[in-house]
Amino acid sequence: MKTPLSLVALRYAAAMFITVIFMFPIFWWGLTSIKPASDIFNKDEVVVFDFKPTLINYRVTVLGESPSMLTGGGTASGTTMGTGGENSFDGRKTIFDSIVIAIGSTIFTLAVSLGAAYALSRMAFRGNQLYLNWILSHRFLPPIAIIVPLVFMFHNLGLRDTYLGLILVHSLINLPIAVLLLKSFLDDVPKELDQAAMIDGATRWQSFRMVVVPMIRGGIAATAVLCFVFSWTEFLLSLFLTSEIRTLPVKITTFVTSTGSEWGFISALGTSAMLPSFIFILLVQRHLVRGLTMGAIKD
């Protein structure tokens, strides 16, 4: 049956309407980041397009230029940050920290969870199912419940305020989901493929690496995106466990001060923060395809 044109038009209209609703906050965020401070909050009117675009917010947060030099000594909150040229709105190190931690914890999570998921999917051992439930139970507790013991433990282990510490703690949160997710992808790969590989002369490791892993590429990519995005946006644990190292969500909150909020800097750094995760998702996107096992078996 051919869909009537009016219905097609209606569908597109609805799709566009919903897209606009979802995109608007991002659009407004981006717009705010290029507004001069005076146009972000204007007590007379909401400034939409009627402003002189400026890159000053980016120059301060992403390029690390001194705000006092650019704004002539005054910021929105009136604080004169950066005495002696130090710029507390400089986001360069924080972007670097976030990238290191997000990529580090994604790689670590994938490495551990792939092995665990393979064992759970392929090897019969006592308590297999129990173990799976136990893994899942780790997600029942909200992170805040473990924060106090974690701080003590990390302090004693010398992991507070280290990349390794945050990589470990983000992996800790991501592992259960990653294991469960990867296990379900592995379960979809027919066991006959491992067996065929073994008969062809592969060790278990070879059949895992050369046959099984390539087939769940899509699943690995999806899991990687989840892990990365979690780590990139995680706030609470990073806040408690670091002071010198600052991830983006933690850093951005420091722009909200008792004397005022630097909306311009917040929106500029926030918009910039979207970029790395956007690039990361683009990179793994080509692996996010279904049907990698198509043709392996008779369906």
Binding site: M198, P214, A296, I297
Partner: protein, 362 residues
């Protein structure tokens, strides 16, 4: 190439025993078919030979060496799976080269072997395609190609044709048999399809409930089934089985059934009054519309072209005959079924084991 010996092989899954002491000798170069209904343990036995299942007790040896604890990769066997199990992310060429790549075989040698296998299996035009771009028959051929390139000691086939359509199945059947005739590699083939077993095997092993019921050439098991199960399992339409007793008249021993007395070959080792099962294959039943024979009412007539299957009821029993003549029969008409007594099989009613004739018993 190698022989395969299975002695007292037992397989248990927890408390459940699926194989009860299997003994089997497979000679070098033989094509042996494990045949049986689903759940009889034939695939389990094959997987034990492959090393994919542990042997609970007993011994499996290939080429004279015990294999029980040898990893599949070190058994030098090749296996074709029912669902092909191709490496979907590799091209046909890579699929076939995989085993040699693992063994670090010389690249030129790999190319040569893959080319050779592709030629035998007519896969040359498809070498650079991915499995998903192939038809079912082509995929099956790739699975076979993957097996033959390595020149293994033993080929294992696990119902390789059951996913193909009828026509392709017949074609692949011939191809596999031809392949075996050329390569002469010891082959163990699992199927539940008796036509595959009959047409391909040097030796058929009929299994039921984890036991071997009979081992023999296809015609041996067809002509001389060792017991009622084999008699009923092999042959389509199945053997007619009548339950009755041995009687005696002026000529000699007879088979008495529903007040009807049928002559028997005199060399059966039976005694009067013995309860027996009388088996006769449909093609050994002479069908006529009048004259001697069991009277029956036609139920269904199935012409297949070369022959016609006639199903008819005698009392509450369904009988079947196969006739090559063009008989004008319609449902509800009366027919006479006359067994050809040279082809009668007798089974003990209690043990269900075939009753032998004196000379064949020696």
């Amino acid at each position: 190439m190698a022989s395969v010996t299975i002695s007292d092989a037992i397989k248990k899954y927890g408390a459940l025993q699926v194989l009860h002491g299997i003994n089997l000798d497979i000679r070098n170069g033989q094509f042996i078919v494990l045949l049986g209904p689903s759940g009889c343990g034939k695939s389990t036995l094959l997987r034990m030979i492959a090393g994919l299942e542990e042997v609970t007790a007993g011994e499996i040896s290939i080429g004279g060496s015990k294999m029980n604890d040898v990893h599949p990769k070190d058994r030098n066997i090749a296996m074709v799976f029912q669902n092909y199990a191709l490496y979907a992310h590799m091209s046909v060429r890579e699929n076939m080269a995989f085993s040699m790549r693992l063994k670090k075989v010389d690249k030129s040698k790999i190319a040569e072997r893959v080319g050779w296998a592709a030629k035998i299996l007519s896969l040359e035009p498809f070498l650079d395609r991915m499995p998903r771009e192939l038809s079912g028959g082509q995929r099956q051929r790739v699975a076979m190609g993957r097996a033959i390139v390595r020149n293994p000691d033993v080929f294992l086939f696990d119902e390789p044709l059951s996913n193909l359509d009828a026509k392709l199945r017949v074609q692949m059947r011939t191809e596999i048999k031809e392949l075996h005739q050329n390569l002469k590699t010891t082959t163990i083939y699992v199927t539940h399809d008796q036509i595959e077993a009959m047409t391909m095997a040097d030796v058929v092993v009929i299994m039921r409930d984890g036991n071997i019921e009979q081992v023999g050439s296809p015609l041996e098991v067809y002509d001389n089934p060792a017991n009622l199960f084999v008699a009923e399992f092999i042959g389509s339409p199945g053997m007619n089985i009548l339950e009755g007793t041995i009687g005696e008249d002026s000529v000699g021993k007879t088979f008495d059934f529903h007040g009807f007395s049928m002559p028997l070959p005199q060399d059966f080792k039976v005694h009067a009054g013995q309860n027996v099962l009388y088996g006769i294959r449909p093609e050994h039943v002479i069908t006529s519309t009048s004259g001697a024979g069991l009277q029956a009412t036609v139920k269904v007539v199935e012409p297949t072209g070369p022959e016609t299957h006639i199903y008819a009821d005698h009392g509450d029993m369904e009988l079947c005959s196969v006739s090559r003549e063009r008989l004008a029969l319609s449902p509800q008409s009366e027919v006479r079924f006359l067994p050809d007594i040279d082809f009668v099989h007798l089974f003990d009613a209690k043990t269900k084991i075939a009753i032998l004739k004196s000379q064949s018993a020696g």
